[in-house]
């Protein structure tokens, strides 16, 4: 049963890695889902398949797409599991989410778009600004994620010091 008052730091610390992974998986899945919804379906910028794709690109795209589906659902079940154990740590989870989402976007923007040439962000335009914004925002997300994780760890240490020692 989740406690009504106070924060269960012991449980948070015990499940720190699980909080982080729940975030990474959900972030990755969420960004992949947004990519599919916004850029493929709504804007129609991305192409389903682009003739310059190399064979490895199809494999990489297929694996990542499948993995992201599992990551979204799995990440959410991990959140449910953490909640049920009174161990959900929002700051750590958000840190993981930003790192996971940013990492996927960076991989998508560099390896998948450029090296494997699955598709470009948009067609019949000067692609450079699009690539800069895409990968730049990915790097910002990753950096913000790491800052959040660091801050969460500091909170945890601080909480340990404040608590009076009952010896």
């Amino acid at each position: 049963m989740p406690k009504k008052h106070g924060v269960n730091w012991a449980n948070r610390r015990k499940f720190q890695t699980k909080n982080l992974w729940a975030g990474i998986l959900f972030g990755l899945g969420f960004v992949a889902f947004m990519d599919e919804t916004v850029f493929h379906q709504l804007l129609h910028w991305h192409k389903f398949y682009d003739k310059s794709t190399v064979a490895m690109g199809l494999v990489s795209d297929g694996l990542f797409h499948a993995f992201s589906w599992f990551a979204t659902v799995g990440g959410l079940y991990l959140v449910a599991d953490l909640r049920r154990q009174d161990a959900l740590w929002h700051k750590m989870f958000w840190g993981g989410k930003l790192v996971g989402g940013g990492a996927f976007q960076l991989y998508d923007g560099t390896i998948q778009h450029k090296v494997l040439r699955i598709h470009q962000i948009r067609y019949d335009v000067d692609i450079v600004p699009y690539d800069v914004v895409w990968n730049g925002s990915a790097i910002i997300m990753i950096a913000a994620g790491f800052l959040l994780i660091r801050s969460a760890k500091q909170d945890s240490r601080g909480a340990g010091q404040v608590k009076p020692h009952a010896v």
Binding site: F48, D61, A66, V73
Partner: protein, 267 residues
């Protein structure tokens, strides 16, 4: 005229099979519900089984069967029904559990022995089921099999029976709704499932790029996209069900270890 006799055969074959499946299941439910010591058979399972049988058959009988013969988009819609959605709904009907409940003890033992046999174990293995399911599709669409299927009745029947059986096998190798002889861990099933879904997605994009023999490019592309997104949608349901049972089983395991004792803060 040749076509008429072609469809007459498949209509009869698949239509009667589906009706038989529904009829036998309902008889089973009736017999099971008559036994006082057993709890009533869940309504949802009946709904699931009947709709699974109807949807599977609807792709092979009547208008959709005729449409899918000449059009790749309809063919793909049919494929999603026969190979994915239909089998999933049928599996959720837990037919094997119903059978074991309904049969007299001696026969039920024989069936459960059969389920525990090495051959059944081979087919229900997640890797075998995934290879039969996804491998079969690669074979169908990247070789001359797809074109040949439209000219030979026996091949047409064989391919559709395979697609259905492999789809069902794959579903029950991922979700253990009915009893199985060997349970693979959730992690193991997840890894195999990711690879299988990737194989399905890659094949869809491959078909988008290289249309099967005799299929017009535009039709192949629309069909391939339907395969890709439709496959995602049905598999999402299986993923949610798989992870749900993982979540529930880890919860009950934990409470079995320390019933009702909350994790205390260390001092």
């Amino acid at each position: 005229m040749l076509y008429d006799s072609f469809f007459a055969v498949t209509d009869w074959l698949f239509g009667v099979s589906a009706l038989l499946a529904i009829g036998l299941y309902l008889v089973g439910v009736y017999l099971s519900d008559r036994q006082e010591r057993l709890r009533k058979w869940p309504r949802l399972r009946i709904v699931s089984w009947v709709s699974g049988a109807v949807l599977s058959a609807s792709a092979l009988v009547g208008p959709l069967a005729v449409l899918s013969h000449g059009n790749f988009i309809w063919h793909m819609a049919g494929h999603l029904l026969v190979g994915m959605l239909g089998p999933l709904l049928l599996a959720l009907g837990a037919p094997m559990t119903l059978l074991l409940r309904t049969l007299p003890v001696r026969q039920a033992r024989r069936v459960s022995r059969l389920l525990r046999s090495r051959l059944a174990g081979f087919y229900i293995h997640p890797v075998t089921a995934a290879v039969l399911n996804i491998g079969g599709l690669w074979l169908l669409y990247t070789t001359g099999l797809f074109a040949a299927m439209h000219h030979h009745l026996w091949l047409h029947i064989l391919v559709h029976v395979h697609v259905f059986a492999a789809g069902y096998l794959f579903t029950v190798s991922m979700l253990y709704i009915d009893p199985v002889s060997r349970r693979f861990s959730y992690g193991y099933r997840t890894v195999v499932f990711i690879l299988a879904l990737a194989g399905h997605g890659i094949l869809s994009k491959f078909l988008y790029a290289y249309s099967p023999h005799g299929v017009p490019v535009e039709e192949a592309r629309a069909g391939a996209m339907l395969m890709y997104y439709g496959g995602d949608a049905v598999d999402l349901v299986i993923i949610v069900l798989l992870f749900r049972s993982w979540y529930l089983s880890s919860g009950s395991r934990r409470s079995a270890i320390s019933p009702g004792v909350p994790v205390r803060e260390m001092t």
